[in-house]
């Protein structure tokens, strides 16, 4: 590597890298805007893949010791355009670029008529995410964060889903406004706009304000990650938006949000013991979000909505770990480092298995035309390849040992329990956090079992399921790669943990002690566990392989009855016991619907989304009543307008005279 440094001056290589990232995407955008044919759409998408590949090489370039920073000569009205990449953002950038690339490959392969506009917007989204992660001035961070929201809004156009898109855009903008106020305040106190110069501004900001700022930043990013008050947009948008937008939104955009959230809390503001009550508040909020997400995902009728609530739950767990990190950093920094590693690793794992599952569900809907999980089922016989890929995704989501989901959940529990804190109140936190993670983990496992069981197993419940269209050739490739990635990250998790450890050490300033290994109490390495599980499985398979007679195929046992398709258990039936257990939270009502002739009635369980009912609707009602009342001042009669002018003049003169 040193030959490289000698010949090419550092700056030139960095500039070459940034050109490799930005130029193909920009070319793609221009092409996409002016042409409309499908061929051009593929060209634009491949340009996007080129910039994703150069994005993926970020970590290796960083490792080679090249200082990746660049300042655009042309400044903007509100500051400079500066990019610089440190180790943690390099890891996240290259990882997210790989995920982005796989999703774009799926776009090219699956949708035939996606059109140039869509691919052009994909390029813009990649650039926005890249510059958000690599931002070095508050302006670039805020601008690219809002651009990510804007492009996701434009990308989510699918038929007439205006309401869902609007709700997403407004909530994300509320979050954006919070971030603007927070970062503008910090840059006014820090005196400089350059983010890399912001180091532990907590003391200079003062205790109260730094806590308030941390809360604002968490809620600002929370609007995109789906923390409790802001999660109302997720299920509708996930269900109605095109699948690749949802995949990008839940994976790449969440990676961006988590990375910048981590850097803002731990690097820019720095955590001080005075922030403990704020950390408690965030832990409570994250735990509530995780529990709510887990509970809601059990009763959803559309697979995409199940995945929406699962994203919400996973991201809530990550925010929970970060808040725990903030609590631990005071007493046991080593354990705080492990919690943060667990959080970042879980974000990366979540990106992998969520995009895999979203692609699978999209292929299911594409091939069978069915949207409701109630009439799905039996796909494993008709689409075996898809169900193999799906089972890997489901296993890693449900945190079953050999896969990557297990590794990050295992790390999380270790770090939650590991810290030895003096103050009793704080250590009370650990059992509660453990209980939350435990319950959410198991509920999500039940929900994923329901998802897989009622989509792939059992008998087909509708015509579309019996004879699905064959999968488009080539769409399996990105899914297979993601499945392998799930398993690889399960087996070789230590590689990723090493990279993340040094990244977090540099970002959070925790003294760089020995690697993560000393931090983890047990020596059980994920690799060892994975290998043992597979070894025992293969051993058993081999030991009992010889079959005396060929297996006989018969009908499923139905006590002699000939079972037809709707004598199976239904998906809502599966979660009905759990709904009965958690009834007070669900607020579910069972409604008897008469359809057509008198005698056949159907019992339908309806779930009210309490946040929408008790929070969003009253706010909307108040706003419309208020604006109705203000609306009355425009009466249309010119006399009243003169009256307003006279009144204003009189009031103003009075004010001058008295003040």
């Amino acid at each position: 590597m040193d030959i490289l440094n000698v010949q090419l001056q550092d700056g030139a290589l960095a500039a070459a890298f940034f050109v490799a990232v930005f130029v193909p995407a920009l070319a793609g955008i221009l092409l996409g805007m002016f042409f409309r044919s499908n061929r051009v759409a593929n060209v634009v998408a491949s340009l996007c893949i080129v910039s994703c590949i150069s994005g993926a090489s970020t970590y290796f370039l960083w490792n080679a010791g090249i200082d990746l920073s660049y300042t655009l000569p042309l400044p903007s009205a509100a500051g400079q355009y500066m990019l610089s990449i440190d180790q943690l953002s390099a890891t996240m950038i290259s990882f997210s670029s790989v995920i982005f690339m796989l999703i774009v490959v799926h776009v090219v392969k699956s949708t035939s008529d996606s059109g140039c506009k869509y691919s052009a917007l994909l390029n813009t989204l990649f650039l926005a995410c890249f510059s958000c992660m690599a931002a070095d001035t508050a302006l670039v961070l805020l601008l690219s964060w809002e651009m990510v929201t804007l492009v996701t809004f434009l990308l989510s156009k699918n038929g007439d889903n205006e309401k869902a898109r609007w709700l997403f855009f407004v909530i994300a903008h509320i979050g954006g406004m919070m971030l603007i106020c927070a970062f503008v305040y910090i840059s006014s106190v820090a005196g400089t706009q350059i983010l890399s110069q912001w180091r532990d501004l907590g003391p200079s900001l003062g205790d109260m304000t730094s806590t308030a700022l941390v809360l604002m930043i968490v809620l600002g990013f929370g609007s995109k990650l789906g923390l409790i008050p802001f999660h109302a947009w997720m299920p509708n948008l996930y269900a109605s938006a095109p699948i690749h937008t949802t995949a990008l939104l839940s994976t790449v955009c969440s990676n961006v949000a988590i990375l910048v959230l981590m850097e803002s809390i731990f690097t820019y503001i720095g955590v001080s013991p005075s922030m403990s009550w704020a950390a408690f508040a965030i832990i409570a909020l994250a735990a509530a979000t995780a529990l709510w997400g887990a509970m809601e995902s059990l009763v959803q009728k559309e697979p995409k909505k199940i995945l929406a609530y699962s994203s919400m739950e996973n991201m809530a767990l990550v925010v929970l770990c970060m808040a725990l990190g903030a609590v631990y950093i005071g007493e046991s920094p080593v354990m705080a480092k492990l919690v943060l590693i667990a959080a970042m690793l879980h974000t990366m794992n979540h990106a992998v298995f969520k995009s895999l599952m979203l692609m699978t569900i999209d292929t299911v809907e594409d091939c069978t035309g069915e949207k409701n999980i109630g009439n799905m089922g039996g796909l494993s016989k008709t689409l075996p390849v898809l169900s193999v890929v799906a089972i890997v995704g489901v296993l890693s989501m449900a945190a079953i040992p050999p896969t990557n989901g297990f590794v990050s959940e295992w790390l999380m529990i270790q770090s939650i329990m590991g810290a030895d804190l003096e103050s009793k109140a704080m250590s009370l936190l650990m059992p509660l956090a453990l209980a939350a993670v435990g319950i959410c983990g198991m509920m999500m496992a039940a929900s994923y079992a329901r998802l897989y069981g009622f989509v792939f197993l059992g008998r087909p419940r509708s015509e579309g399921m019996k004879k699905p269209r064959p999968m488009k050739k080539g769409t399996v490739f990105p899914m297979a790669v993601l499945a392998l990635l799930c398993l690889a990250m399960g087996f070789f998790a230590t590689v990723f943990m090493d990279v993340l450890t040094s990244g977090i050490e540099s970002a959070t300033g925790i003294p760089s002690g020995p690697g993560y290994r000393s931090v983890m109490s047990g020596e059980l390495l994920p690799l060892l566990l994975g290998v043992t599980v597979t070894a025992v499985l293969v051993l058993l398979l081999w030991a009992f392989r010889k079959e005396k007679r060929k297996a006989r195929k018969t009908r499923t046992w139905g006590c002699g009855e000939k079972l037809d398709s709707n004598m199976q258990y239904s998906s809502i039936g599966f979660s009905q016991p759990l709904v009965k257990v958690f009834h007070p939270f669900y607020g579910d009502t069972s409604v008897v619907k008469e359809s057509g002739d008198k005698d056949n009635k159907t019992l339908v369980m309806e779930f009210s989304e309490p946040f929408v009912k008790y929070l969003y609707r009253p706010v909307a009602a108040i706003v419309s009543v208020l604006s109705e009342r203000i609306g009355r001042i425009q009466t249309g009669n010119i006399q009243t307008y003169f009256g307003y002018m006279l009144a204003t003049l009189v009031v103003a003169l009075l004010a001058v005279r008295l003040l």
């Binding site: 009243t640 003049l649 005279r657």
Partner: protein, 220 residues
Amino acid sequence: MDQILTSNLIDIFAVCMLLSSVLAMASVRMRPLIRLFILQSVFLTAFEFTVAYSQNEPEIYVMAAMTFGIKVLLIPKMLQYIMARIKVDDEMALSVGIPGSMLLSAALIIFSYFVSEPLIITLDTAERNSLVLSFSIMLIGMLMMATRRKAISEVVGLLMAENGLFLGAIALSNGMPFIVELGAFFDVLIAMIIIGIFAFRINKSFDSVDTTLLRRLKEE
């Protein structure tokens, strides 16, 4: 005529102007309204004439002549021509009854005394106490626009407010620089012409000049 007489005359003319605008508020018909406006403009000209004489400022003479020419002769002629063409009925629709507008005018006069009190202390021109009167004439003019429903009465309200303004300008600093006065006059004149044109249009499309009919543009 020595100093005391001129200052008394100035105050008398200013008070008469206020009186005429209060009477205008009390009038019920359109024709007397215009006659009162002419009366007020005459008093304004006389006021300017005496000020010009006492301060022997040549410019104010020209201003007096122009006020007389435009405000006493030309604009009333125009208003009557419009009234004749539109054949508007003489009834003046009041949205606030006579007693109500009287009370409001009195309140406005007291209010302008209270408000302009700091101004008067610092003023040094002879006609400073007519500043209060100019304030009240302006406010009453605006009150008329706010409470009368007929388009013509609104225009007259505006003109009376402008008379108050010119009175104020002279009271403040013996009149503004000449080109400003000139500009103001022309501005008033053109405004009247354009308002007249649009009054014709309103009458043609609504076949009445009652502005309450102009109610279509509002937030449903």
